[in-house]
């Protein structure tokens, strides 16, 4: 695709979301920047507690209150800063321009209402759209677009009558009902079986192709990133440690953490018996080490890592990574 015709829809600049607790300030997201273009999918990958979900909740301003607060940064959506919007305006935006699919399809659907009722809801919010018949037809159409068989008949069913894969497709239907410009999918397939996951990811890609929306895919599964995303940002302890095209990051990881993550994955093709293991455990966000947050686990640690947090350095084949080793390479 021609790069020039792509429109930037989201750009996040130095976002900081902190949680103020009795035990101290938890810097869940600490200076994160990224962009998403029209029709592009960005994967945000990392282990639990690295801040990937909070980053996404910040995008729709749904950070758990009152402990959590977006402290600073800019979230520009098609040029407008989300953080300066009034709450009422933000409500109008959610679902219409930015939609979200959450992890667990059972808890995201209300068990007391029929599927038809819940899928119709976004259409009811549309101004001037008050004809019941019309709304029902739109709901049926959107359910058909996510491949629910015989949607006319399933409209009156309740969530418990749907299987896990179908519930997740219903959520996708609700999310795309109003043709959002950006879809955020937070671990959309962790509760699904592999064959159903495969179906759902294909559906997601198809939907994206048709509507040309931007997609932010949050996942801990590197396989999903490799197969569905164009670019990827790897997060560790609240910061992006490496970003770039999926091709570059997977084939030539620049940050030792990314490299170790790739090595630690049991692969279908691999032969060796012992897996490469990252020593230690993800750090406690209340007691981050001085310098780079990854150095106590890093197998390539040098002196400066213990003192100062590395800035983002450009990587040879595109993208950037925050590791002092890259500076050394540059100086050579």
């Amino acid at each position: 695709m021609d790069l020039m015709t792509k429109k930037r829809i989201l750009s996040v600049e130095d976002l900081k979301t902190y949680f103020f607790t009795r035990a101290g300030v938890i810097k869940a997201v600490d200076g994160v920047s990224f962009t998403v273009d029209e029709g592009e999918s960005l994967g945000i990958a990392g282990e639990s507690g690295c801040g990937k979900s909070i980053t996404c909740l910040s995008l729709v301003r749904l950070v758990p209150q009152p402990a959590g607060r977006i402290v600073s940064g800019k979230i520009l959506f098609e040029g407008q800063d989300i953080l300066t919007k009034k709450e009422e305006e933000m409500r109008q935006w959610r679902g219409k321009v930015i939609a979200m699919i959450l992890q667990d399809p059972l808890t995201s659907l209300n068990p007391c209402f029929t599927i038809g009722n819940q899928v119709s809801e976004p259409f009811k919010l549309e101004k001037g759209n008050d004809q019941r018949k019309n709304i029902k037809q739109q709901a049926i159409d959107v359910l058909r677009s996510v491949k629910i068989p015989i949607p006319e008949r399933r409209m009156n069913d309740y969530p418990f009558q749907f299987s896990g894969g179908m519930r997740q497709r219903v959520l996708a239907a609700i999310a795309i009902a109003r043709n959002p410009r950006l879809l955020i999918a937070d671990e959309p397939t962790t509760s699904l079986d592999v064959t159903i996951q495969d179906q759902f990811l294909r559906l997601l890609k198809d939907m994206q192709k048709q509507t040309n929306m931007g997609l932010v895919m949050i996942t801990h599964d590197m396989g999903i990133v490799a197969e569905t995303c164009d670019r990827v940002a790897i997060m560790y302890a609240g910061r992006i440690v490496e970003s770039g095209t999926v091709q570059r990051v997977f084939l030539n990881p620049a940050h030792p953490y990314t490299e170790a993550l790739m090595e630690a994955l049991p692969k279908m093709e691999s032969k060796s018996k012992t897996l490469f293991q990252i020593k230690g455990e993800p750090p406690n966000l209340l007691q981050l080490p001085a310098g780079c947050s990854f150095w106590p686990r890093c197998h390539k640690v040098i002196d400066i890592c213990r003192i100062e947090y590395p800035p983002l350095f450009p990587v040879t084949n595109g993208g950037e990574a925050s590791c002092w080793l890259l500076q050394k390479n540059k100086d050579k």
Partner: protein, 330 residues
């Protein structure tokens, strides 16, 4: 050599109440429909399958947590369903399990020391002194790679990976011969998974254990197991040496399952289209081969008769009417 565990034509049906209080009727949920396999001493056997395939039910049958409807399970040649209470107590020292969610399988009110040493107190409390029990608990906690001072902690003070290590220590303190692991790493982060998998294979060697690993993560199973069975709706569809099954899967379901696993390899083209449909209803399973409604190779025979596991080549069996033809086209 005699296999340590032999599962023969095991069937498990659960009665499910349907209808109102006064008009209660029972339907049967066919969780396991005639499964046979055997595990050799020192092997690492894997059971793969999607949710609802019956793999966890099998582990419960082996652990005597559920009664077998039909068939038999032999442990070292002895039928476990004929065990007396005394035999069962002995059996439970020989066969141990590590549950899926380590965090919730540890009692939050017990210190790690108590959790790890409890099996010893229950089974050998009369023969061992307190000090010996303590020494063994310490030895175990070191074996799983934790510092001995962690024994004084409570489970909530440990991280997910450390809790999983405690669960392992607790299961192997009696020196069992067979350990059943139900999704041992699925709740853990990627960087911790590799640590636990390496630890498990190290312990297997040191303690001469036999493992039965139940998981849906195929890449992980490929990495650790020596033999593998692929389950679908209560049946084993393919059974054989892990290497053979992964290198040239014969059953269309196994092939589809392997193709569906996302690979951390960018630009990998998906030659095989997605598997259509979903797993069937176990109360009204499809006729014939349970997989036929989702299978693109299905013929009339598949709808009528259920295929049995046949040895297509040494150490590789498959239950498919069309297996011969399919392997030829590969």
């Amino acid at each position: 050599m005699e296999p340590i565990l032999k599962v023969q034509d095991v069937v498990k049906h659960f009665p499910i109440a349907v209808g109102g209080v006064l008009r209660r009727k029972f339907k049967t949920l066919k969780a396991v429909e005639g499964v046979s396999f055997s595990i050799d001493r020192g092997a690492c056997f894997g059971l793969a399958g999607e949710s609802g395939s019956g793999k966890t039910t099998i582990s419960k049958l082996i652990l005597l947590l559920e009664k077998i409807t039909k068939g038999s399970i032999l442990y070292e040649g002895k039928d476990i369903s004929k065990f007396t209470d005394k035999d069962i107590k002995w059996y439970r020292t020989r066969v141990q399990t590590i549950f899926q969610d380590a965090a919730s399988s540890l009692n939050p009110r017990m210190r790690i020391k108590k959790i790890v040493s409890e099996p010893l107190e229950v089974h050998l409390g009369k023969t061992l002194s307190k000090q010996e029990i303590e020494e063994r608990a310490e030895e175990m906690i070191r074996l799983v790679g934790l510092p001995a001072d962690k024994l004084a902690n409570y489970p909530h003070e440990l991280s997910g990976g450390q809790k999983q290590r405690v669960a392992i220590a607790k299961s192997i303190i009696l020196h069992p011969s067979l350990v059943i692991l139900d999704e041992p790493v699925s709740a853990l982060d990627v960087s911790i998974r590799a640590q636990i998998l390496n630890l498990l294979s190290e312990i297997q060697e040191k303690q001469e254990l036999t493992y039965l690993i139940i998981a849906h993560d195929l890449a992980m199973l490929k990495h650790v197991t020596t033999k593998i069975g692929v389950m679908y709706m209560g049946n084993i569809l393919e059974l054989g040496e892990t290497q053979k099954v992964f290198e040239s899967p014969l059953h269309p379901y196994t092939k589809a399952l392997f193709a569906a696993v996302p690979q951390p390899v960018p630009g990998r083209l998906k030659e095989i289209p997605a598997l259509q449909g979903e797993i069937g209803n176990p109360m009204e399973p499809p006729s014939g081969c349970r997989f036929h409604p989702r299978c693109k190779f299905a013929v009339d025979k598949c709808r009528e008769t259920r295929p049995i596991l046949l040895e297509i080549r040494p150490d590789h069996r498959v239950a498919c009417h069309k297996a011969d033809g399919l392997s030829a086209t590969m």
